[in-house]
Amino acid sequence: MSLIKYSCNYSLFKHVLQNNTIQKNSTRFLQTSSVCLKNQAGRYRITPKGDFPLTYEMANPPHRIAHRKAWNSWNTSNLDGGVRSAETAVEDMFIRKFVTGTWHNLFASEVIIKRQHNIIRIAGIITRGLSPRKMYFLIGYTEELLGFWLQCPVKMELQTIADRKDIVFKYI
């Protein structure tokens, strides 16, 4: 017990001593920031070979939104005084799931959803993996079903690329 007390006192003494020296040197060894400040969401790690392909969207982390890259959803519900923010978010998520599933393994970019009045525009870049006939069918299918579910006119505005490598921005 006494040993502990002693050690405590000793450590206190040492602490005071250190503080004095610190004040003399006019520097402080205090860490105020949290230990782990690592942001991981939407960021990609460098691979050892440096051959991991990134699109422009992937190459810019989320804090670059509005500076280097734009939003994937364009609507007025997140503005000051906007209405239907929760519904819009859920609907956007549903559209994304539906489109990526319907156009399986075809979308090379993110699904971009733009809302103008009650029109929903779904834009994106796809690879030419399908015959044009099937692609037209899928466009009509997506527009018709989403229009029925969301009770809005839906438009698909797509671009095609020959190869997935066309959309690669850089390799890390």
């Binding site: 422009y56 519900s77 209405v83 993110e110 009650n118 015959s131 959309i167």
Partner: protein, 322 residues
């Protein structure tokens, strides 16, 4: 070169093998009693030709075959996401950290994201405005200033429309109607004005002499507008309406001092022995007493009051004490 030779070699070997196999199968059909040969490398039956990868016949971008003097409004008639094959501009978008050109318009998702105004080029706006002009009427030239407008049309009715992205176009805020007018434009008499001000309360702004009535209790804009006009009518007629109990108003209930109804007037008349209209300088005196009582005692009102009393009683003017 060596590789190519090798491939050719292999192909020839395969082909010969194939021939041999074909022949062998034929012979096997004839001689059923012989043992069949188990072929591990190649499957039995007809050799399946390998499907050639389908080559899509992709046309070159439309923008390359566009004439220089085309009408852009016909190419891009309405709002639409950016499409690189249709837009003949060499636009680029994107941020590149090291020195280098930003990504080009092909396979560039950033250009698709940003709302474009390619359907609203200046010549197109001009053309559409010229077409819209037939639905417009010019502003009457006689009402060219705010003063004239306010003189002839004193009521201001403010309402808002809202546009936003949603399946429904309804916005509850669109129902609010604001009615605003100058109190002087109603032409009320003094008593009615006093009552009107008491009825509207803090909706009256003294600085600009304006009354603001905001109606938002009905669900529709039209109903709120009708209600605002109803309120105006009701206020107007109510302020002219004289209730019986209003005549019971005594001097103690007055909100301001009126010399004509007070004891000061009676005293003056008694002192001079004639009605106040005939007394010299009585109006000046009445005015100064009104001001003294309504505005409160300060140097200015007290001085005025003193002067008025001296004038009324024909006393010499105040001697300046030095």
């Amino acid at each position: 070169m060596l590789k190519i030779f090798r491939i050719i070699e292999r192909n020839t070997i395969e082909k010969t093998c194939l021939c041999v196999r074909y022949s062998s199968t034929d012979s096997s059909a004839e001689k059923r009693d012989e043992f069949r040969v188990l072929n591990i490398r190649k499957p039995k039956g007809r050799y399946q030709e390998r499907k050639q990868p389908r080559t899509l016949n992709i046309l070159p971008p439309r923008s390359e075959s566009m004439p220089v003097d085309q009408d852009w409004g016909n190419v891009w008639p309405g709002p639409r996401s950016f499409h690189p094959a249709t837009v003949p501009l060499p636009v680029r978008q994107g941020y590149v950290e090291k020195s280098g050109a930003p990504p080009s318009k092909y396979a560039n998702a950033e250009l698709v994201k940003i709302p474009n105004f390619l359907h609203l080029t200046p010549p197109v706006i001009e053309r559409q405005c010229n077409a819209l002009k037939q639905f417009c009427t010019p502003w009457p030239k006689a009402l060219d200033t705010d003063e004239k407008l306010e003189k002839h049309f004193p009521l201001q009715i403010t309402s808002s429309d809202y546009c936003f992205s949603s399946p429904s176009i309804r916005n509850p805020l669109a129902r609010i109607v604001t009615l605003r007018f100058k109190l002087g434009s109603l032409g009320l008499n003094q008593r009615a004005k006093d009552k009107f001000l008491r009825l509207v309360g803090d909706r009256y702004d003294e600085e600009s002499d304006s009354v603001t009535i905001v109606t938002d209790r009905c669900p529709l804009k039209k109903q709120n507008y009708d209600y605002a006009l109803y309120l105006l009518t009701a206020l107007y007629h109510e302020s002219y309406n004289v209730e019986e109990w209003e005549n019971l108003k005594t001097e103690a209930d007055m909100e301001y001092y009126d010399w004509l109804k007070n004891k000061s007037k009676a005293t003056i008349e008694k002192l001079f022995g004639k009605p106040h209209g005939e007394i010299e300088n009585a109006d000046v005196y009445a005015d100064s007493v009104d001001k003294l009582m309504n505005e409160g005692e300060n140097t200015y009102t007290l001085d005025k009051y003193g002067e008025a009393v001296r004038k009324l009683l024909n006393l010499p003017t105040k001697i300046e004490i030095k």
